[in-house]
């Protein structure tokens, strides 16, 4: 059902767990299926210096969160904002069609976290 990259990120998720002293924490959920992701970002000079997450969801949701956090680590906020769930799915080497929507949660969490941070800094949200 899943390729080895997806299974690897599911069984050995990168950046899993809580973070001490994060700059931003967001929790997003999909009302439809009850998937939830909590994302922790540490931001210095508009760069994501550390990131971690927790996810309640299927293997696709966990693997997508894991891959997405890898892809935004040490990136600027602008670069992180531009990351789409399609990029994450591509980096995972693809997901089954019916599981593509499970990858949206990570993108949602990243964008919401960035806007919370921007508002806190007195900027307009993107």
């Amino acid at each position: 059902m899943y390729n080895e990259t997806v299974m690897d990120h599911f069984e050995h998720p990168r950046n899993i767990g809580e973070m001490e002293d994060p700059t931003v924490v967001v929790e997003v959920g999909s009302g439809e299926c009850g998937d939830r992701t909590k994302l922790f970002l540490k931001i210095e000079d508009d760069v994501i210096v550390d990131v971690s997450f927790k996810t309640l969801g299927c293997a696709a949701a966990i693997a997508s969160s894991s891959m997405a956090t890898e892809m935004i680590k040490e990136k600027t906020l602008k670069e992180a904002w531009d990351l789409t769930n399609r990029d994450v799915v591509e980096a995972l080497g693809g997901l089954p069609e019916q599981k593509i929507h499970c990858s949206v949660l990570a993108e949602d969490a990243i964008r919401e976290a960035i806007n919370i941070y921007r508002k806190g800094q007195g900027f307009e949200p993107w």
Partner: protein, 391 residues
């Protein structure tokens, strides 16, 4: 499932309600009918005699398992066909008398979707509710009957949570009102004694691959004198009621398999029941916040069904697969994150319990060592998934 677990980990198969391996004795019984005794049972020459005789034997074997006459057994291509035939055939045959079907809200899709199709053809269907254990109330069956009702269809045992329905009481209600009673017994055969007369059953569906027989084989019991319309039209096989050249090896296998699993049902119940109870007690004792779904005693002897809120069932299933354990989930986030199964929903199981449910169904081929292995493997996997999701 791909990728599979490492080759050095033995497989622990705990999904017998999905299917079972064809037993070697059953395969052995079938083999001559692929080659030596290949003759078409409808042909007159003597090389077909063996095939004809074998079908007759199988018919007797199935009849013995149900307490009926061999004349009342009709071979089909599986449980789904039997359900379709019983429901479509019976409602069609009685169309002049009415257009109402009474069924439950926890039926297998073979019944549920057949009734759904009939709704598009002008029939009305009552889907009876169940209690939190998944039980249908016979009094509600009676209350649902209208002058238009021509069929009552309630399963003998549920395929997800294993709840055994009060079939005998429902049969009595149907008989009192002169309404035909069909039961889907696909999950029940081999796990409990079945007597179509005592249970007042008019039509009963069964499927070979659920009890160590071959896939693509099934039967429909039709009480003498009851005449559902044909579903499969064509040649005159099965006394002109189910067309198509007989699947002789499959029918032989079905007969051999049902004889095998009904020869000692009390012994099976004792052996598999002990393993199931060990599994249930082990899980309940070792895994915090685990919830046993279904009825505590009115359930299939081989069924254990749990919810572990705080995780996703598919994720758990994949991790179990890596450990060589084959199980099943009660709810799949497959197409657009569909919600949980209609069975769990009908029982009032909350969504967080539904999405974290796990079905383990045992068979005579399981061992105590396998159950111990599962009890060692499962708690840390659940703890890990919960930790990944604990906010």
């Amino acid at each position: 499932m791909n990728p599979s677990h490492a080759p050095d980990i033995p497989t622990v198969y705990l999904d017998h309600s999905a299917t079972t391996p064809t037993h070697p004795d059953v395969v052995r019984a079938m083999l001559p009918y692929f080659t030596e005794h290949f003759g078409n049972p409808s042909s007159l020459y003597s090389i077909s005699d063996a095939a004809r005789a074998a079908i007759a034997t199988a018919r007797t074997q199935v009849a013995a398992a149900l307490g009926c006459s061999a004349d009342e057994i009709f071979f089909t291509a599986g449980g789904t066909e039997s359900d379709n035939w019983a429901i479509r055939g019976m409602t069609s045959a009685r169309k002049k008398e009415g257009n109402h079907i009474v069924t439950s809200s926890i039926e297998h899709h073979a019944v549920l979707h057949t009734c759904g199709y009939l709704e598009t053809q002008g029939f009305s269907v009552t889907h009876l509710p169940v209690d939190r254990y998944g039980l249908v109330d016979p009094a509600q069956v009676e209350a649902a009957i209208t002058p238009e009702t021509t069929l009552i269809s309630v399963m003998m045992a549920n395929n997800e949570v294993g709840t055994i329905q009060p079939v005998q009481e429902i049969g009595a209600v149907a008989r009192d009102h002169g309404i035909c009673f069909h039961t889907d017994a696909v999950q029940a055969v081999g796990h409990m004694a079945i007597d179509v007369d005592a249970m007042k059953i008019d039509l009963l569906s069964l499927s070979g691959h659920k009890f160590f027989g071959p896939k693509g084989t099934g039967a429909l019991y039709i009480r003498d004198g009851i005449l559902p319309d044909n579903l499969i039209h064509g040649g005159g096989q099965e006394k002109g009621r189910r067309a198509g050249t007989e699947n002789v090896p499959g029918i032989v296998g079905l007969g051999a398999a049902i004889a095998r699993v009904t020869i000692d049902i009390p012994g099976h119940r004792e052996r598999v029941g002990a393993l199931r109870d060990m599994l249930v007690q082990g899980i309940s004792g070792r895994i915090p916040d685990s919830h046993y779904n279904g009825h505590p005693d009115k359930r299939l002897v081989n069924n254990a069904h749990f919810s572990f809120p705080g995780l996703d069932g598919e994720a758990l299933l994949l991790m179990l697969n890596r450990k060589g354990i084959c199980a099943s989930i009660g709810s799949a986030c497959s197409s657009g994150c569909e919600d949980m199964s209609h069975v769990l929903r009908a029982m009032g199981v909350p969504p967080s319990y539904g999405r974290s449910s796990l079905r383990l169904t045992l068979g005579d081929d399981n061992t105590k060592e396998e159950i111990e292995y599962v009890l060692d493997v499962l708690p840390p996997l659940i703890a890990r998934l919960r930790e990944m999701a604990a906010f």
